[in-house]
């Protein structure tokens, strides 16, 4: 299922998890603020596409959350990559 890209050698391995495709999820995320030594938490709600990226050997897995219905007011994008541990599936009991 994994497919490494050899063209420009990104620092991750991409893949797809069909179990997550279309699942609604919340992401209690956050990141460093560009140009500063500070960080801020950011909260998102959206729909997982199932696409993931694995960084490092562990691996450190990130899922793409799209169709965002909740995002910080200052967030400029329409989708966000979320660390696996920061994701909470919202439709688990449905």
């Amino acid at each position: 299922m994994d497919d490494s890209s050899d063209n420009d050698q990104p620092p991750y391995v991409t893949g797809f998890n069909g179990d997550y495709e279309g699942r609604r999820a919340a992401c209690e995320g956050g990141a460093g603020v560009e140009g500063t030594k500070y960080a801020g938490r950011q909260y998102f709600v959206g729909t997982l596409t199932g696409h993931y990226r694995d960084f490092g050997d562990y691996p450190w897995r990130w899922y793409l959350l799209a169709q965002l219905t909740v995002k910080p007011e200052a967030y400029a994008n329409e989708a966000v990559w979320c660390e696996e541990g920061s994701i909470q599936l919202l439709d688990e009991n449905e």
Binding site: Y12, G29, Y38, A39, Q42, A76
Partner: protein
């Protein structure tokens, strides 16, 4: 009465006083550690080789004592955009307003243009490289402000390292406690930088209640700059304090001299919570940049990272040219009590003396 300053944190770290300095200056870190406190050095902005050199430098000066380091491990990152794409998203109205501010306050050009080309995306790659140094060097305490991935906790614990988590809500605290962190930093709204919405007095006891089942120490953060603050949060059940603003104007601090002077002048009302720097709300000392963006005629603050791109020249120029009238720094509401440029050792000893005075006053003192 047993020594109220000898807490679980002191036992866990082998330190004399339950005071943690969070600082970006390694001289401050060493001074605090050698004076009986503990220090966590913020290394988020540094490349791996810089971090490794800092670790060596600190170890040469503190011997076998423990120390900590803080990285900003991202928990979410936007889809990548090029700097050119981002720059194209900045409206002309905002560019004009930035130019007006620079002209009005005679802001010079930065000596070196901010390197915005390192911004945006792929934070994970940098974070992984930074983390690898932490593991290789077995840094005793690893602090993370945005959560800790499970592999990090597992590997750190296997190597005898502690992992600390900083939280702004009880829900975040529960998640970190369940994940297995070794210490929780409960940060209140009074704090510097990007903070949560809950005040320090409210969040600390709630997190203490959550952490006590697993016997995890809790540090109080946000507005802690006086011994009365330390005494108060110990009474709330905290095992110590996490302090940042307290050290900004210390003699060892590498903060620019003009900025130190500004910090000493600032009152609590001058530690403003605004989104005009990065697009996200953060608490900093006030500056002309803040005042101009407060005005009704100011255009809307841009989304991240566009607002920071707009502010970058102003910030860099204020530092490059040491313009005290322009500079600002992240500072908490406790800045009121930062009133003198003292050695870090004295800052710590004064804090402890103030705390002991509180306990003497409340308990009548040991000599009665």
């Amino acid at each position: 009465m047993s020594d109220p300053l000898h807490t679980q944190l002191c036992e866990q770290l082998g330190i004399e006083y339950p005071v943690v300095a969070f600082t970006h200056c390694k001289d401050v870190a060493v001074a605090v550690i050698n004076a009986g406190g503990f220090a966590v050095l913020g290394e988020a902005m540094h490349p791996p080789e810089h971090i490794r050199a800092d670790i060596k430098w600190i170890r040469e000066r503190i011997g076998d004592k423990k120390f900590g380091m803080d990285l900003v491990l991202p928990a979410s990152v936007p889809e990548e955009k090029t700097v050119e794409e981002l720059l194209a998203m900045i409206p002309q109205e905002s560019r004009d307003y930035e130019q007006m501010i620079k002209a009005k306050y005679n802001v010079p050009e930065p000596k070196e243009a901010p390197n915005t080309h390192t911004w945006g995306g792929l934070d994970q790659k940098r974070a992984l490289a930074q983390m690898e140094v932490m593991f290789e060097e077995k840094v005793p305490v690893f602090a993370s402000g945005l959560g800790s991935p499970q592999f990090l906790l597992d590997r750190a614990h296997a190597q005898g390292m502690q992992v600390w988590g900083l939280v702004g809500t009880p829900e975040q605290a529960k998640k970190q406690i369940d994940a297995g962190v070794d210490c929780i930093i409960a940060q209140g709204f009074d704090a510097a930088g990007h903070t949560g919405q809950i005040g320090t007095l409210s969040i600390v006891p709630q997190v203490v209640d959550l952490a006590q089942e697993k016997n995890i120490p809790v540090l109080a953060a946000g507005g802690i700059t006086h011994g009365r603050h330390l005494a108060a949060v110990l009474a709330l059940g905290a095992a110590g304090v996490w302090t940042g603003t307290l050290w900004l104007a210390s003699r060892e601090s590498d903060v620019k001299q003009g900025l130190k002077e500004r910090i000493l002048e600032c009152e609590t009302k001058d530690a403003v919570f605004s989104d005009c720097v990065s697009g996200y709300t953060m608490r900093t000392t006030i500056s002309p940049w803040h005042r101009e963006w407060r005005k009704p005629e100011a255009p809307p603050v841009l989304k991240a990272p566009l607002q920071m791109m707009l502010a970058a020249d102003y910030i860099q120029a204020s530092l490059d040219h040491e313009r005290k009238d322009l500079m600002f720094e992240a500072a908490g509401q406790g800045v009121h009590y930062v009133t003198a440029m003292k050695p870090a050792r004295q800052v710590l000893s004064d804090l402890i003396e103030e705390t002991l005075d509180v306990f003497d006053r409340l308990c009548g003192g040991d000599d009665d």
